[in-house]
């Protein structure tokens, strides 16, 4: 099996089921997904890695029909509340229309292939799909 690489470093593929990991401030508990210099809430500088729940609720969404050149449309972009940690993501494996995507719907993390590079490494993206 060829190796895989995640689209972003906070998507973890090789430690059990795929999941997201946040940087949690050890002082105040604020969550971040990017490389940190300090905590924007309390100015603390120590963080620990915390697994983000893979199921959540769609707090808000838009259906993008007009995007920058090269981006396939339409797609559903939204914010998922995963047990108190908000995650930016697309809603995938669903028809991109307001009949099938609704505020407050339950969703779960899902991954998909972005393609394989010249070295044989497969890139994996993530989104959230309806959790029936």
């Amino acid at each position: 099996m060829s190796s895989q690489i995640p689209i972003v470093d906070y998507l973890v593929l090789d430690d059990g089921a795929p999941h997201l990991v946040s940087h949690e401030c050890t002082s105040c508990g604020a969550h971040y997904f990017d490389r940190r210099n300090a905590c924007a809430n309390c100015t603390g500088t120590e963080f620990r890695a915390v697994d983000v729940p893979t199921e959540g609720v769609l707090r808000t969404f838009t259906i993008v029909s007009f995007a920058a050149p090269g981006i396939p449309v339409p797609f559903v972009a939204g914010v998922v509340d995963c047990g108190g940690t908000s995650v930016r993501a697309n809603v995938i494996n669903v028809d991109a229309d307001p009949e099938h995507v609704t505020l407050g719907m339950k969703v779960r993390l899902a991954t998909y292939s972005l393609g394989t590079d010249e070295a044989g490494t497969e890139a994996m993206g993530f989104g959230f799909e309806p959790a029936a």
């Binding site: 690489i5 995640p6 689209i7 972003v8 470093d9 906070y10 604020a30 969550h31 971040y32 997904f33 990017d34 490389r35 924007a40 809430n41 707090r59 808000t60 969404f61 838009t62 259906i63 993008v64 029909s65 007009f66 995007a67 920058a68 050149p69 090269g70 981006i71 396939p72 449309v73 797609f75 972009a77 939204g78 914010v79 108190g84 940690t85 908000s86 995650v87 930016r88 993501a89 697309n90 307001p98 505020l103 407050g104 972005l114 393609g115 590079d117 010249e118 070295a119 490494t121 890139a123 993206g125 993530f126």
Partner: protein
């Protein structure tokens, strides 16, 4: 009164397409007209604050080279869509600090024909997946992990409000009706980029950009400039009766940024910093939302206008939908909002917007707004927000 800062002269150019004018031409037109309105010249001005995002930098000095190189300090400011308000506030602070008797603030943008702002175009993925940046991304994330485009970001901001307040109606039509109001208002504004009334059907059946925002529900890219001359209260007292009568008091000038909250780095939170700015502004001015005769707020998208009814405390907390449904924000309502047509119809030449909305309010307070005059207007509020984020709120009062 001596500590107060007043608008002595102010001007807004026609918003729209100005193919024969560059940014400096438009800035000069606005600045010279504001100076003429004030009865002053560049030789009187002690500080210049200039806002422009897309012109390549140094707008203040470029402007000076056309209308007067007097050696005064120039502050070139940049604060996304709050740039104009930031320029005005910079001039206000200088006058308030006693560093200048007269300040000039200018905002200008050439934006006609511009497409989507932010997001850029997606580059081809590289031959080998290599992590880079703060998220270790191996490929472009716009469109793969949410959207970076403004219509999509603000669509989510409006939808989030409906989720939090358990709206049971049809979101698309609700937001489209807000846009219908602003497009109706602009029919009375000869300086607006678009002055054609649009029906609800036309708005909803126009090109979908990012659900629930169709094209006419998005701010209109256009060219334009606005400028204001500000003066201290003590200096104003030495001027003519006519100048004193037309001067408009800046009862509050506030700029805030977004304090940290859960999720604010996931989806920009435009709410808290606006509410904070509004609270400070009402306190500074000694007025409440119920005292406002008109409001120009930052309807960069129809979905944004709704949340700012609440953020500016024009309605009860959580009550923005009912407030709009009551008709309060139409020009004949209790709190007319965006009688200029707003960003959706008047247009949004980014750095000009934060002075143009102050011009709109000031023009009503002076009783000079022509067909769209809000009769007897004495107090008004102008609000802008730039993502990143920065929020500017100015409360203006008619001279006693």
């Amino acid at each position: 009164m001596s500590d107060d800062v007043w608008i002595l002269g102010i001007h807004m150019t026609k918003f729209g397409k100005h193919p024969d004018k560059d940014s400096v031409d438009l800035a000069a037109e606005a600045a010279l007209a504001a100076l003429a309105d004030a009865g002053k010249s560049m030789k009187d001005i002690g500080i210049l604050a200039a806002g422009n995002l897309l012109g390549g930098g140094g707008m203040g000095q470029q402007l000076q080279k056309q209308i007067g190189q007097t050696g005064i300090p120039v502050y070139n400011v940049s604060n996304a869509c709050a740039t104009g308000a930031t320029a005005l506030r910079t001039a206000v602070m200088a006058v308030k600090a006693g560093e200048a008797d007269y300040g000039l603030a200018v905002g200008v943008e050439k934006l006609a024909g511009a497409g989507l702002l932010a997001g850029g175009s997606r580059k081809a993925d590289s031959d080998t997946w290599t992590p880079s940046g703060r998220y270790g991304a191996i490929a472009a994330v716009d469109g793969r992990i949410g959207t970076e485009t403004m219509p999509g970001v603000f669509a989510q901001i409006g939808q989030e409000y409906l989720y939090e307040h358990q709206y049971g109606g049809a979101p698309f039509e609700l937001f489209a009706r807000i846009s219908e109001k602003n497009h109706a208002h602009s029919t009375l504004n000869p300086l607006a980029a678009y002055t054609k009334r649009m029906s609800l059907d036309e708005i909803m059946n126009d090109v979908m950009i990012a659900y629930p925002n169709t094209r006419p529900m998005c701010s209109a890219n256009c060219d334009g400039a606005a400028a204001a001359v500000v003066v201290s209260g003590s200096v104003l007292k030495t001027l003519s009766q006519e100048q004193q009568k037309r001067a408009v008091r800046i009862a509050a000038s506030v700029l805030t940024t977004d304090p940290w909250e859960e999720a604010c780095q996931i989806l920009p939170n435009v709410n808290t910093l606006t509410r904070n700015a509004a609270k400070q502004a009402y306190e500074q001015a000694g007025v409440g939302p119920e005292d406002l005769d008109l409001v120009e707020l930052h309807d960069c998208f129809a979905t944004a206008e709704l949340v700012h009814y609440d953020n500016l405390m024009l309605c009860e907390e959580g009550g923005a939908v009912d407030f709009f449904e009551s008709g309060a924000t139409w020009r004949d309502g209790t709190t007319p909002v965006n009688v200029s047509g707003g960003l959706e119809s008047k247009g949004h030449p980014i750095a000009a917007t934060g002075i143009a909305n102050v011009w709109e309010v000031a023009t009503h307070l002076r009783g000079e707004a022509g067909d769209r005059q809000i009769e007897g207007a004495r107090v008004g509020l102008a609000h802008v927000i730039g993502l990143g984020s920065a929020c500017g709120v100015h409360i203006l009062e008619k001279a006693a």
